[in-house]
Amino acid sequence: MDDNQEKYHDQIDGYLRDELSDKEKTLFEQSLQEDPDLLAEFTIHEELFAQMDESSWGVNINSLDKDEVKEVASYFRSEEVIKLKDTIEKVKANYHRDNETFLVKNKWIIPILIAASISLFIILYSINFSESPQELYAKYSTWQDLPSLTSRSDEDLLAKGQELFEEKNYKESFLLFNHYLKNSDTIIPSVYLYAGVSSLELDKYEEAIFYFDQLINSNAVDQSKGYWYKALSFLKQGKKEAAIKTLNNILENKDNYNFKEAKNVLKKLQ
């Protein structure tokens, strides 16, 4: 095996360090299929490179033994592990409760909290509880919840778009995302959101709703985000009835994005 190591050393390194021409690459891949010793040596090299490269962690999983994976997966279904999972769930719930109530344990803070809540109560009671669509829009149009696009390291364009968006340069970000969507054949749900919100900021309501509808009609996991942002588009225009209708779409399923917020906004609209 050590002889092979020396013999194959340069080819394998060249391949894994991206130093070969396309033609050399193809040749190498061919010899990989024909030469089991080379393949064995290659596998361990590939592993070494993968372990060093954080950006490929978990992506290079083809070389794991399938039976072993099955066996380990069955451990995750075992009684003991399920019991541990339940214990963790319980601990987690307690942990949250404790964190929320730690203020109360401080005795001196209670009178202050009571005083504060009384004055807050008075303030809240003296103003009207229902809020106008535009007020609600202003409250929720912070855009902090938009997913980041910069993790897609292969897409400099998208990172640039996000940057423009964050600088509130919506005109440019709109152009960029619009261009991207027209020329891309894969569906990237987050890009629809950015395109839509950029349009919304420019008061291009038709475009905004078009993009959010695209998201709603896609089979993306977070497809329901489309409803929320579509509702915001109606709120900004003061279209109360349309907003209510869209918010009701969110209430159809508890797992929909911003289910609770949608409920709150509906209450305040009525």
Binding site: E47, I88, V91, Y95, R152, P189
Partner: protein
């Protein structure tokens, strides 16, 4: 370390008091890491839980007998790796517009096996000399030989190449001689 054994036994027995201690002592740091790296609270909770399950299985069925660092360092590294893996997988899913087809348990099994391999690799790397580790780190990160010569002050590229070859051969040899390596080659 007696503290490690205490935590490991607590996990193994699903002891609520010990698990609560683990949660309140170590979760905040993991949460901080995840929030700083594109994650939410729910993500941090999810990976923390998965890592504890992973440790339990590794003690019970995978011959994890001792943890050589502190328990905190071990737990944190495992969480970091799992979160990095999760981010990489998400990236891949959005890139190719596919949904993962495997069950959650299968996915956790992959994560566990990858963690084991990573530890094997780190452990073996530690056994090399400082110089070997340095040159291999650069080489495996695809740094060009020109730069390697400059950074580590080698006399020439030929010298650097010889050094890489020797260090790599040594690393591969000690990895291969480890019992746990047998599953690596398909």
């Amino acid at each position: 370390m007696p503290e490690n054994e205490y935590f490991m036994k607590g996990i193994l027995d699903s002891n609520e008091r010990v698990v609560a201690e683990i949660y309140s002592s170590f979760f905040p740091k993991v949460l901080g890491f995840v929030l700083n790296n594109k994650g939410q609270i729910a993500d941090a909770e999810d990976i923390f839980q998965k890592v504890l399950m992973q440790i339990s299985i590794r003690i019970r069925c995978r011959e994890l007998q001792t943890i050589n660092s502190t328990f905190e360092a071990y737990l944190f590294t495992a969480c970091k790796n799992l979160w990095r893996r999760e981010l990489n997988l998400r990236k891949r899913v959005t890139n190719r517009n596919i949904k993962e087809q495997v069950s959650e348990e299968t996915d956790m099994a992959y994560a566990l096996l990858e963690q084991e391999r990573w530890e094997l690799f780190k452990e073996k790397l530690e056994q090399l000399s400082d110089n070997c580790r340095q040159v291999l780190a650069l080489f495996l990160s695809k740094v060009s030989y020109g730069e390697i010569v400059e950074k580590l002050s080698y006399a020439s590229e030929t010298v650097a190449r010889q050094r890489v070859f020797k260090c790599k051969a040594k690393l591969i040899k000690i990895i291969k001689s480890d019992e746990r390596f047998k599953n690596l080659i398909p």
